[in-house]
């Protein structure tokens, strides 16, 4: 079985990020680039399936980004992923989720797949829409928020988290699947994995080699970023020490009254 995990390369989560007001692009300089933390769960889910299914199951990581992403993608290879594809082209500058969906779909069609696994929300874009876009463009089932995944007889059986609980859904393969953190903590790369990753293939795929169904970059985008501003500052408020329960409660109670919240 051919499993492809789509990942996004983003500035490190543990640093405060910002968008440059002039260029309206994410500021990536001076901040380490990492695999979107949500996508590490997608990698973990794929590796678990590979272990369970065995045989000729392979896991490929697919991303859209600069060639310099090679070093970041190598982390996935060290975790146990077999190979990687980076769709890279200067023409993607100014793309939105529409163009990203088209490009990833074209790469998936070229590469072939039985199961595409995606992470949840992208850290930096927050659209969480790639799963749906891929399902539409590829004409296959698209299931989101999967916490448990079973594959038997060419069929997916997935436990999904919903807004109010969970549900079990079945669907035929091929399919696109977005996973939640419920699949389990992403594994660390072993020393052997890190050494082995150096020999694995990272293919660079220019846009010209893909049959992308429309213009790319800002010509193809369906949305345009007009302005970026800093949020209103949230200053340090009052810090009060409470001697005991009743006095602490009174401090809060009075504050709620002052703010007309009760």
């Amino acid at each position: 079985m051919k499993i492809v995990v789509t990942v996004k390369l983003v500035p490190d989560t543990n640093s405060e990020k910002r968008i440059d007001a002039g260029t309206k692009r994410l500021v990536r300089t001076g901040v380490e680039t990492v695999i979107n933390p949500f996508d590490e769960y997608a990698i973990e889910a794929a590796l678990q399936l590979k272990e369970k299914l065995g045989g000729d199951t392979t896991v490929t990581v697919l991303t859209l980004g600069p060639e310099s992403g090679k070093e970041v993608v190598r982390k996935a290879l060290a975790m146990g992923v077999d190979d990687a594809i980076i769709v890279s082209d200067a023409g993607f500058e100014g793309s939105d989720v529409w163009v990203t969906g088209l490009a990833l779909a074209a790469a998936l069609k070229k590469n072939g797949f039985d199961l595409v696994i995606t992470g949840g929300l992208a850290e930096d874009g927050n659209t969480g829409a790639v799963t749906g876009a891929l399902a539409e463009h590829l004409g296959v089932p698209g299931l989101t928020n999967a916490a448990k995944i079973d594959i038997a007889d060419g069929k997916l059986r997935v436990e999904r988290e919903t807004d109010s609980g969970h549900q079990t859904v079945t669907a035929p393969l091929p399919a696109v699947l977005m996973v939640t953190m419920g699949v389990g903590e992403p594994r660390y790369a072993s020393l052997k994995g890190i050494m082995g990753a150096k020999k694995k293939t990272i293919a660079i795929l220019p846009a010209g080699e893909l049959a992308i169904d429309g213009p790319i970059g800002s010509d193809g985008a369906k949305t345009e970023l007009v302005s970026v501003a800093a949020p209103p500052a949230r200053g340090k408020g009052r810090v009060v020490t409470a001697e005991d329960g009743p006095s602490g409660a009174k401090i809060i109670f009075d504050f709620l009254k002052e703010r007309k919240l009760i």
Binding site: N14, E16, K17, R18, P37, D96, V97, W98, G101, E123, D124, N126, T127, G128, A129, V130, G132, E136, P141, G142, L143, N145, D163, S164, G165, H166, Q167, T168, V169, T170, A171, T180, M181, G182, A221, K222, T223, L225, V226, V228, A229, A230, P231, R234, K236, G237, R238, V239, T241, A242, E243, G245, G248, A249, K250, I251, I252, F253, L256, R259
Partner: protein
């Protein structure tokens, strides 16, 4: 795009408050664009819910009381929404920024070859052009976006961003025809509710969130739940509490959980690390209770009370109850 179509997320006859927020906002946007405000309600309970929706300022409510919507995941709803968008003509599609809303938004945007903006908190219309404001990167940047290269646009809206206002000329309820020749492959075999009857975390006006300092699952139900009830709100949690298994992940606020903007947020035993902060920093008033006065939340809370949460929370609940009953 000239018209607006609201996708109504619901369970039977019950819908969330955000539906009414969207219906109200749809009217305002449609008027500014010189178009019509539509809504689509599909699945069990649609007919009854449409009658309730009539008290909001919509022009047309498209209804399909079709069991397939509840049997098969997403696909039937997407097909109906595509049909409604085609009936409405070039339009902006509004959905709530919830798990289900986001799922549908991603699909319908690709289907209609439309732009998609998400987690929108404000919309302006100028010269027939729709701009939407949304906080990005966990609220560290506020962006403004417009749509282009398409007759359609899709938008997920953060709950609690618009005030719902009933009133209107009485919308027309019309049956929408089932799109023909479709087969559905994703079957919902079973469904379980974990937080039924509770207010959704993302739309609650008040959220009381617990963290590592709670020490276990019991204080969530014994301390935080009564406080949340007294405030007419609901309980949330930090990732530490969800990871420890004290609460389900559906209650987690932050980077890898939900993003909330209640009028009032009370963080109990939560340090307020960046991962949590990005999920709640746009809350109206932020209050924290912590035994340590130097925790990160002290930098952005409007009030931090340093003390014993196990002593303070029950007292506060008692005082609030006394006020309500006074």
């Amino acid at each position: 795009m000239q018209n607006v179509v609201v996708f109504v997320e619901h369970k039977g006859e019950q819908t969330r408050k955000v539906t009414y927020e969207l219906a109200t906002e749809a009217r305002r946007i449609a008027d500014a664009l010189g178009g019509k405000a539509h809504a689509l309600v599909v699945g069990a309970g649609s007919q009854a819910l449409a009658e309730t929706l009539k008290t909001y300022p919509l022009d047309t409510i498209h209804v399909a009381e079709d069991g397939d919507v509840d049997t098969f995941l997403l696909d039937p709803a997407i097909d109906y929404l595509e049909a409604a968008a085609k009936v409405a003509g070039p339009s902006l599609i509004l959905l709530p920024n919830t798990l289900a809303g986001r799922d549908i938004a991603g699909r319908i945007a690709a289907r209609l070859k439309a732009g998609l903006t998400s987690d929108v908190t404000n919309v302006t219309v100028e010269g027939g052009k729709v701009s939407c404001v949304s906080p990005k990167l966990g609220g560290t940047s506020i962006t403004s976006c417009t749509y282009k290269n398409s007759d359609y646009g899709v938008m997920t809206v953060r709950p609690n961003s618009f005030a719902p206002a009933a009133g209107g000329a009485g919308a027309q309820i019309v049956a929408i025809e089932k799109p023909a020749g479709k087969t559905y492959a994703m079957v919902i075999e079973s469904e379980a509710e974990e937080v039924s009857g509770e207010i959704g975390l993302e739309e609650a006006a008040a959220v009381v969130a617990g963290g590592r300092g709670m020490g276990g699952p019991a204080p969530f139900t014994e301390l935080l739940k009564p406080l949340a009830d007294a405030l007419g709100g609901t309980v949330g949690a930090s990732r530490a509490a969800a990871d420890a298994g004290w609460v389900p992940y559906s209650l987690q606020i932050g980077q890898t959980g939900k993003t909330i903007s209640p009028n009032l947020y009370i963080g109990v035993g939560i340090s307020g690390a960046i991962q949590h902060k990005v999920g709640m920093r746009t809350s109206g008033t932020i209050i924290a209770i912590n035994k340590d006065g130097s925790v990160p939340i002290s930098e952005f809370a409007d009030l931090l009370v340093v003390g014993d949460l196990f002593a303070i929370v029950p007292e506060l609940t008692k005082q609030l109850r006394a006020t309500v009953h006074a």
